[in-house]
Symmetry: C2
Subunit: 258 residues, 2 copies
């Protein structure tokens, strides 16, 4: 069963998801973005119309996918024209009932992945968490999500927000550690490439053992002389604070288990 879809938003998630829907034989009718160039760029890629005016949004689609910054969603919903179909957002931390004042059939499709515009991702391996306002809508959203991925789970919003929170740690914060490492090497004229096998192995290890068991390094060994040296090498106060706080936290988690 193929669906007709309107995308509200043209960012990273909208880009990857709309392409994946197109590939799965759904039809993207229209792309809305506040910035007309963004709307047009994505619309061209998925053979859709585009607009930067919410009033021009078509009312005859099966599915409306809202993929915008959480902060922006209430105002957009307030200004949306009446439509048929199902409204769906893609946010980890927004309850589905944000749609309740506007229509009865709505839900959530939350793909647990990090999307960047210039990197393609195979949607079929991404865990997708759905929610729906009623049983019939759930069936439709489930079958729609199943066109994207074989790993579709039903999860209520109260749980989904913790999933999102854990993803911020496992993805955004872990990635920021790479950024800080790159900074340190850049100051010394050492190419970041040298760290790639280590980063790859660190991520691979936790597919076989728990991250707590996988931990190595001076903090878990509580090797004070190394930690003191490292704090001495760090030039800026921010990195020092992060080093101290995370080393303490690693040590605390290691000793909790002893």
């Amino acid at each position: 069963m193929s669906s007709t879809i309107v995308f509200i938003g043209a960012g990273n998630v909208a880009t990857h998801m709309s392409k994946a829907f197109l590939k799965a034989d759904n039809k993207v009718l229209q792309v809305y973005s506040r910035t007309i160039e963004h709307a047009q760029m994505l619309a061209d890629e998925v053979h859709a119309d585009f607009t930067n005016d919410l009033e021009n949004i078509r009312n005859d689609a099966d599915i409306y996918i809202f993929s915008v910054k959480d902060d922006a969603l209430p105002e957009i919903l307030h200004r949306m024209p009446k439509t048929g179909g199902i409204w769906i957002h893609t946010a980890g931390s927004v309850p589905q009932h944000i749609f309740a004042p506007y229509l009865t059939n709505y839900g959530v499709i939350y793909p647990l992945q990090t999307f960047s515009k210039n990197r393609s991702v195979s949607f079929s391996e991404i865990p997708i968490f759905i929610e729906a306002s009623n049983a019939e809508t759930r069936k439709i959203i489930e079958s729609l999500a199943t066109t994207l991925s074989s790993k579709v789970y039903y999860l209520v919003g109260e749980k989904r927000q913790y999933l999102h929170l854990s993803a911020v740690f496992a993805c955004n914060f872990a990635n920021h550690m790479y950024t800080l490492a790159a900074d340190i090497l850049e100051n010394e004229g050492i190419p970041f490439d040298i760290l790639k096998p280590l980063i790859t192995e660190t991520a691979k290890k936790i597919t076989e053992m728990s991250p707590r068991d996988a931990q190595t390094g001076p903090a878990v060994r509580f090797d004070k002389s190394v930690m003191e040296k490292h704090l001495g090498l760090l030039k800026d106060e921010e990195k020092k604070r992060i080093y101290r706080l995370l080393s303490e936290s690693i040590h605390k988690h290691a000793t909790q288990n002893d």
Copy 2:
């Protein structure tokens, strides 16, 4: 050219490195550990003798590899008997001249990787950073290291310590983010497995783009309402502090480039 090697230390690095040396047709003569069971366990694996008494260490090996906690190294060196051969340590943050009071031929073999006892690692892909006290010793250490890996680099200790520091961020701190994420999910009864595709993709992304460009999530978008919600969900003060500090740091790094 095959070498005879004594290992002082039987921890994660010693275990992986001694096995790799054995595989590369070197001979491990003896393993020392303060704890006799640890010495014996590794010695059995690499077909070597073992001891927990520094006075019993053989004096006829080509190579002595010191792979112990940085804190423990000075005392061990102080108590080592006189030997021939070359003394080598495997530490990122210890200068090679720690050996200078004891002999003239010494150096460093620092493998940039995270080692856990129960996970095998292919040494041939690990970048190895060496240092040596003189040109002749450098040749020997270089050829020894080349039996382990095709990526052998000469790097002075002043630089090596920054490499080690960057590895603490990219590996130990990144891994700790996985641990904190696992904690959050465990509290909600959600299996950690669900995060594995995200962790894998986060590590893969930086092989193609810089970690700064790869960043996504609420902090880099400066999505205040999500960040406030997340702080509200976190129960313990430590995770709250980490969330705040890292979100601020991500935002700062993102805007520096604008």
